[in-house]
């Protein structure tokens, strides 16, 4: 596998459940060493996409390659590809340590040790607990340790932050960052937790209506989004008129009599404030909302292009 080849490539993926077409020609490429976030509304097909990539369910059309392996043949990568699922996906009758010993059997040649990962994920004191007796957060930690034992090149995570407390989320984020930086591990993360993805991802893909609606480096995607300025004055109708005449500003359609929402490329809130005050208006609120993954996601999924 050359460093130029994508770690993961999905081309023209179609998947239908009965008459409902979930994926309509999805294309996705994951570069080696990238942390790629996959976001989408509930039922948009994120988990279906991951399951198709992992060969856990059939798809109707399309091509998928993970480190050069087809989905039905990922086992031939011998542990270089692993996944962490929404549910813990471990045998509930085993203890944490037994479960990690089982993981060792699945991935010969790994340099990682169960004790080391238990300590790293803060589950050492639970190592003799049966998986079924753990809290959801600790089950998730155990399943992450189970996956990391394989010393993988690419990790696919489905909703990795579900059930974790704030400390747990920080641990997982730190773990992803360190694996990515120290070992060059590639990640595909599907999640609803947009702030966490924004914090950690190098690339983001937004899945909407069965296709990838936006997919690029995070900085480029966010750079393409106009910032929004929220304004409230004593006469919003007059304020809207003044803003409408100003170059570089445009009033958003979802503005109302209580609140004006203004898209701005170059003009900052200080300039707008000055103009409104000069026109004799009393500005009671002016807030600049920075371009975020959340705002980009909302715009795309609510039908407005960035």
């Amino acid at each position: 596998m050359s460093s130029e080849s994508p770690a993961l490539s999905v081309t023209g993926l179609y998947k239908k459940y009965d008459q409902f077409e979930v994926l309509k020609g999805l294309d996705l490429t994951l570069r080696p060493g990238a942390i790629h976030g996959l976001v989408g509304l509930n039922g948009s097909g994120k988990t279906t996409t991951l399951e198709c990539i992992l060969g856990l369910q059939d798809f109707d059309r399309g091509e998928i390659s993970v480190l050069g392996h087809s989905p039905g043949n990922l086992h031939s990568a011998q542990g270089k590809i692993v996944a962490i699922f929404d549910s813990p996906s471990l045998n509930p009758n085993l203890t944490v340590r037994q479960s990690l010993r089982q993981a060792l059997l699945l991935c010969e040649g790994t340099t990682r040790k169960p004790e080391e990962l238990e300590a790293q994920l803060g589950i050492t004191r639970f190592s003799n607990f049966k998986i079924r007796n753990l809290s959801l957060g600790n089950k998730r930690r155990a399943s992450i340790a189970h996956a990391l034992l394989a010393d993988p090149e690419i990790i696919l995570l489905d909703e990795p932050f579900n059930g974790l407390d704030a400390g747990g989320v920080d641990e997982v984020l730190a773990l992803i960052k360190s694996l990515n930086q120290q070992r060059g591990t590639s990640f595909l993360l599907s999640s609803h937790q947009l702030p966490y993805l924004e914090d950690i991802c190098s690339h983001v893909a937004i899945l909407h209506d069965g296709q990838i609606a936006a997919n690029d480096e995070k900085s480029r995607l966010l750079g393409s989004v106009q910032s929004t300025i929220r304004i409230q004055t004593d006469d919003n109708a007059r304020a809207a008129e003044i803003i409408g005449q100003q170059a570089g500003l445009s009033l958003q359609a979802n503005s109302n009599s209580d609140m004006l929402l203004v898209s701005s490329n170059q003009v900052g809130p200080a300039d707008i404030n000055r103009q409104l005050v000069e026109q004799g208006l009393a500005v009671s609120e002016i807030v600049a909302e920075r371009a975020s993954l959340d705002s980009l996601f909302r715009r795309i999924t609510q039908g407005t292009n960035p």
Binding site: S76, V82, S89, Q98, L105
Partner: protein
């Protein structure tokens, strides 16, 4: 080593590790032996009571004499143990694949080291390992406990040896061999149900329900029952040869051995095993896991 073989070995080692730590696997191995030990004790206590009564009444007959021969009890122990083992193995086989799919544990095996077919084969082999351990323990327990509670010896009536110990041993060996031949097919049936079912509960209930239904209805199938592997298994409505052996080693001379039945017993379970296995391997390729 070939990737397919490596994947199979990894899956098998994983199955054996899980079996080592789970109650279900231990129950499959231990329960038949424990159950027949208890059965022997109950029979012995009731026989002792009956013997005391007969002694008080000054009675004693051939039936009482042969009841003291351990061979009959040994075979009864095997028959009961294998009936229970058959049901336990079907249940465990039905549980094996479906529970891993329910918990999601199967996904890690498939993504990291084994193909779906290798996983099914590993489960089948691991169930056979459990069966082998259970059978060895069952034979040893049945032999030791029956030998301790009764006495092994030839069938003798009025000083005349009706059946020698060598003849008894040969019959028991044949009966045991014929009773064990359908066991792999029963395991494969459980695995097939496990692969097809949508949940572990559904799989176990369906597999046990179908096994018991087959047992009940095989009597109504007439000649066709001979083409069903389950006919030859020791079961609740037992038609197996081991049941005849139980009477033979007790000296009953009215046992009619049907040679055709014995032939079919030897050959029918193999194609059944093959069919069930091929069906499992084909279906598992298409299942969402």
């Amino acid at each position: 080593m070939n990737l397919a073989v490596t994947g199979f070995i990894k899956a098998l080692r994983s199955e054996l590790l899980v079996a080592r730590y789970t109650l279900g696997a231990w129950l499959v191995v231990l329960l038949p032996a424990l159950f027949i030990s208890l059965q022997f004790l109950v029979v012995r206590i009731s026989e002792t009571g009956a013997a005391a009564r007969d002694s008080l009444l000054g009675q004693g007959d051939f039936d009482a004499m042969i009841a003291n021969n351990a061979y009959g009890h040994f075979v009864d122990g095997l028959s009961t143990g294998l009936t229970l083992l058959g049901l336990l193995l079907v249940a465990q086989a039905a549980y094996s694949f479906s529970t891993d799919r329910d918990s999601g544990a199967l996904r890690h095996l498939l993504i990291r080291c084994s193909s779906r077919r290798a996983v099914v084969l590993a489960k089948l082999v691991h169930l056979h390992v459990l069966a082998l351990l259970a059978i060895l323990l069952l034979i040893a327990t049945s032999y030791l406990v029956s030998g301790n509670l009764w006495e092994f010896g030839p069938i003798v009536e009025d000083g005349f040896e009706l059946i020698s110990e060598e003849e008894i041993a040969a019959e028991i060996k044949l009966g045991l061999q014929l009773a064990l031949i359908p066991l792999p097919a029963a395991i494969a049936f459980g695995v097939l149900v496990s692969v097809v079912a949508n949940s572990a509960t559904q799989a176990v209930v369906s597999a046990l329900g179908l096994s018991l239904a087959l047992d009940v209805f095989k009597g109504m199938l007439g000649e066709y029952a001979y083409y069903l592997y389950a006919t030859f298994q020791p079961s609740l409505l037992d038609q197996s040869y081991l049941q005849d052996v139980s009477r033979l080693v007790r000296g009953y001379s009215d046992v009619l051995v049907d040679e055709r039945f014995l032939q079919l017993n030897q050959w029918v379970p193999f194609p059944a095993l093959l069919l069930l296995l091929v069906a499992s391997l084909l279906i598992v390729q298409k299942r969402k896991v």
